[in-house]
């Protein structure tokens, strides 16, 4: 039932603007605080998730989030929209800040394993991180009630009937919201599917 706590605490961030990432970065680069705040609301969770996966430590991941947004504020004026959309640029800034944080305290040396690991290699991990980045960013755009249903349906381990019971809504409403959420995510991710 770990997913319950997650699902309840998930919608803590204020609603997002519908401006594109590129527009917000450009406005932040011109010193617009409200644009920077909107970027923070949109990306704080994806950056933290990425940092947590890469660094494996909540404290260091928190530091990496702070460094990422300090870096975004400093370098937003260098963003060129003609070179590409905002999400990959933000991802690159976050990745660099997280790598720097990882270098700041190297992992202790360990003995070489006897057998090859079945864990994903660096290219696969990079791809997974990018997928998670896009999906978690898109989830921030869902209405709260749809985001809540997605969280419970996908990551809580509850069946649809249990989700309905937990939320106190009919099973049909759970299915309707799940489908609506997937359709909205499909629109947000348009061109990337």
């Amino acid at each position: 039932m770990r997913g319950m706590a997650f699902a309840v605490s998930m919608p803590t961030i204020a609603p997002v603007t519908h401006e594109s990432d590129a527009e917000l970065i450009q406005r932040a680069g011109a010193g617009d605080r409200s644009a920077f705040d909107a970027l923070y609301r949109r990306y704080a969770r994806p950056v933290f998730g990425l940092a947590l996966r890469r660094l494996g430590d909540r404290g260091r991941a928190e530091d990496a989030v702070q460094e990422t947004f300090a870096s975004i504020w400093r370098s937003a004026r260098t963003y060129k929209p003609e070179r590409g959309p905002g999400a990959p640029w933000l991802y690159a800034v976050a990745r660099n800040a997280i790598v720097d944080r990882g270098r700041a305290r190297p992992e202790p040396a360990t003995d070489a394993p006897d057998e090859a690991s079945s864990d994903p290699g660096p290219p696969d991990r990079a791809e997974q991180s990018w997928v998670a980045w896009r999906i978690h960013r898109a989830l921030e755009e869902l209405p709260e009630r749809e985001r809540e249903v997605i969280a419970l349906a996908y990551w809580s381990g509850l069946s649809q009937s249990e989700v309905a019971e937990f939320l106190g809504i009919p099973l049909g409403t759970v299915k309707t919201r799940t489908r609506a959420a997937l359709q909205r995510l499909s629109q947000i991710l348009e061109g990337e599917l």
Binding site: S9, T12, D57, R60, D63, W73, A104, R134, W155, K175
Partner: protein, 202 residues
């Protein structure tokens, strides 16, 4: 991650094949991405406003080190902005305006910064002291932040313990910092009552 069946979760009745395929792809991406991280309370709010802080330079620093320290302080100031320290931070409704940032360095890669706030009418001022890279001390041990005069730690600003990553503490002191040469951090092993080894200095 729970591997959920698309057909159990999504009612595709009435959807054309293309639309159903798109939703199935989103479903697969959700499973691949896994749950978003639960954002800690410290990161729930973005910084509130941009401010610039002066960097205080102490004569204690040799010329070459001074240049490096100024660069470090600028980096710390920028990082502190991201952390919400430099930015008219509001904790419990109390505003903290940073007017100066002082960098500190130590052996083993330890780094620290002192962010000085404005003096109040009575002559007290707050400092936010952030430090990383210091080893945890044994039970009963801690660190002290001192103002330095004639090369010696003479006035205690506060004591603190550290955890694994960056530790930030707030002290309030009534001293005029410019009458001193700088700051040092000393170890305070368990059972000792005089300043121990210097581990960080301005």
């Amino acid at each position: 991650m729970t591997d959920r069946d698309f057909d159990d979760l999504v009612d595709v009745e009435g959807l054309d094949a293309d639309e159903a395929a798109r939703l199935r792809r989103v479903h697969e991406l959700l499973l691949e991405a896994g749950p978003p991280a639960d954002l800690p309370p410290t990161l729930e709010r973005p910084p509130t406003e941009k401010r610039e802080a002066d960097i205080l330079q102490f004569p204690l620093l040799p010329r070459r080190r001074l240049a490096a320290a100024v660069v470090l302080a600028a980096a710390l100031a920028a990082a502190a902005f991201g952390a919400g320290f430099l930015v008219g931070e509001q904790r419990g409704g109390t505003r903290f305006d940073v007017v100066r940032v002082i960098p500190m360095r130590g052996s083993g890669g330890a780094l620290a910064s002192i962010q000085m706030g404005k003096r109040d009418e009575a002559g007290n001022w707050q400092m936010h002291f952030s430090v990383s890279g210091l080893p945890k001390q044994k039970e009963g041990g801690y660190y002290n932040l001192y103002l330095v005069k004639r090369g010696k730690p003479v006035v205690l600003c506060g004591s603190f313990r550290v955890r694994d990553h960056t530790t930030t503490v707030t002290f309030t002191v009534p001293y005029k910092a410019k009458r001193f040469e700088g700051w040092v951090v000393t170890e305070q092993p368990p059972g000792h009552h005089t300043p121990g080894r210097v581990v960080l200095s301005t």
